[in-house]
């Protein structure tokens, strides 16, 4: 019992901070309430441990976020243009992308970013083999499909560079070269 609580301390601390932010104040009462709510949430909804053996590389994280913001803006303008332009919407495509990483955390992060960014949407995921199926809004030409594929892989590469382990980084570089 005690050991499980100790293991959950980081989560509970995060939840407490979130709780105080939501209430908009830092008082002892809110802190105690936050810890209690954190305990309750982690007890009622136990979460499987997430394996992560990587390192945080601050510079790569900044790069990841910056490129993501630019991509997000560009992607929404692109989709917006497809929605309002006079010609008919393009035909879509479904592609399979084979990811390098097998880490569930990195895979989740990557597909989350890919889903938000460039005209692509996740429809199916096989974390065991690292396969990801994406739906492309504009899959009208083979070039566009290949560009979307390389973009998804580039996104993964940035995530690995930011948060991945050394082994994944070398695997990723080896595949790229």
């Amino acid at each position: 019992m005690m050991a499980s609580i100790v293991a959950r301390i980081p989560v509970i601390a995060t939840l407490t901070i979130l709780w105080m932010l939501l209430w908009g104040g830092i008082t002892p009462l809110l802190a105690v309430g936050g810890v209690l709510v954190g305990l309750l949430v982690t007890t009622v909804f136990p979460f499987p441990p997430v394996g992560w053996k990587g390192h945080v590389r601050p510079w790569a994280v900044v790069r990841l976020v910056a490129i993501f913001v630019v991509d997000l803006l560009a992607a929404s303008l692109q989709v917006a243009w497809i929605a309002v332009r006079p010609s008919a919407p393009p035909r879509s495509a479904v592609i399979r992308v084979d990811m390098v990483t097998r880490s569930e955390l990195l895979l989740t992060l990557t597909v989350e970013l890919v889903s938000l960014v460039p005209g692509s949407l996740l429809i199916e995921l096989d974390s065991e083999h690292g396969h990801v199926w994406l739906h492309l809004l504009d899959g009208s030409t083979p070039e566009k499909i290949e560009r979307a594929r390389s973009r998804a892989l580039a996104q993964e590469r940035r995530v690995i560079e930011a948060l991945g382990s050394r082994a994944e980084l070398t695997a990723c570089r080896g595949e790229a070269s």
Binding site: L22, G24, A83, R96, E112, L116, E128, H129, P142
Partner: protein, 207 residues
């Protein structure tokens, strides 16, 4: 700010009407769900824009004229005269752009031919639209507590939008709502579905 309010309410009304068109026309339950989602987000956007124009902080409009109002005047006193006008113009532009993107998202969900394309419209321009509206609201409120909460809303929006989009897309693909013959390329078949489920373990080469 009155002009901004008028433009935004016109845009969001169009958004609402377009969403209702899609909700009525369907054709599937999933389409209706997506349209309802955009509709709810547009309503939330309308409330946020209203709050931004009326400068309604979480402390309430009444109290603002007292303690917070004095604080605001003091803050304004320290700034150059034109500064608050510049901030208001930027905030207004952000609000209008946000409402515009919400409208475009609604146009997308009415015009696009199939469910997954509509999901694209519902996830991308919409998310950015909400972020822009939140940014405009933050510039208008200038209240640290409220801005913290706005940041939390933005983060959770970014975290949850792809998850719901994935669930709808997956459901659409599994139930065959999405017709494979309308795609240019389809690298997904029943075998892959079984594989992804973990119900059948075949060699990787076969898949």
């Amino acid at each position: 700010m009155i002009i901004v309010g008028t433009i935004c309410s016109v845009l969001l009304s169009i958004t609402g009407v377009l969403c209702i068109v899609r909700i009525v026309r369907g054709p599937t339950m999933l389409d209706r769900t997506v349209a309802t989602d955009v509709f709810v987000a547009a309503s939330a956007g309308a409330i946020r824009i209203e709050a931004a124009i009326g400068r309604r902080t979480s402390r309430g409009a009444g109290e603002r004229s007292g303690r917070a109002g004095r604080g605001a005047r003091r803050r304004h006193g320290r700034r150059p005269a034109g500064w608050s006008v510049v901030i208001d113009v930027i905030a207004g532009a952000l609000l209008i752009c946000g409402a515009l993107l919400a409208t475009v998202a609604a146009i997308g969900i009415v015009r696009f031919p199939d469910l997954l394309s509509r999901m694209h419209a519902a996830t991308k321009p919409q998310t950015v639209g909400i972020l822009l509206i939140l940014a405009g609201l933050a510039l208008r409120l200038q209240d640290l507590t409220d801005i913290t909460i706005l940041c939390l809303i933005a983060i959770f929006q970014l975290l949850t939008a792809p998850v719901s989009a994935h669930m709808v897309g997956r459901a659409a693909f599994r139930t065959g709502v999405e017709r494979a013959d309308e795609l240019t390329v389809c690298e997904f078949d029943a075998e892959d579905a079984a594989h992804a489920d973990g119900t059948a373990h075949r060699d990787e080469g076969e898949a």
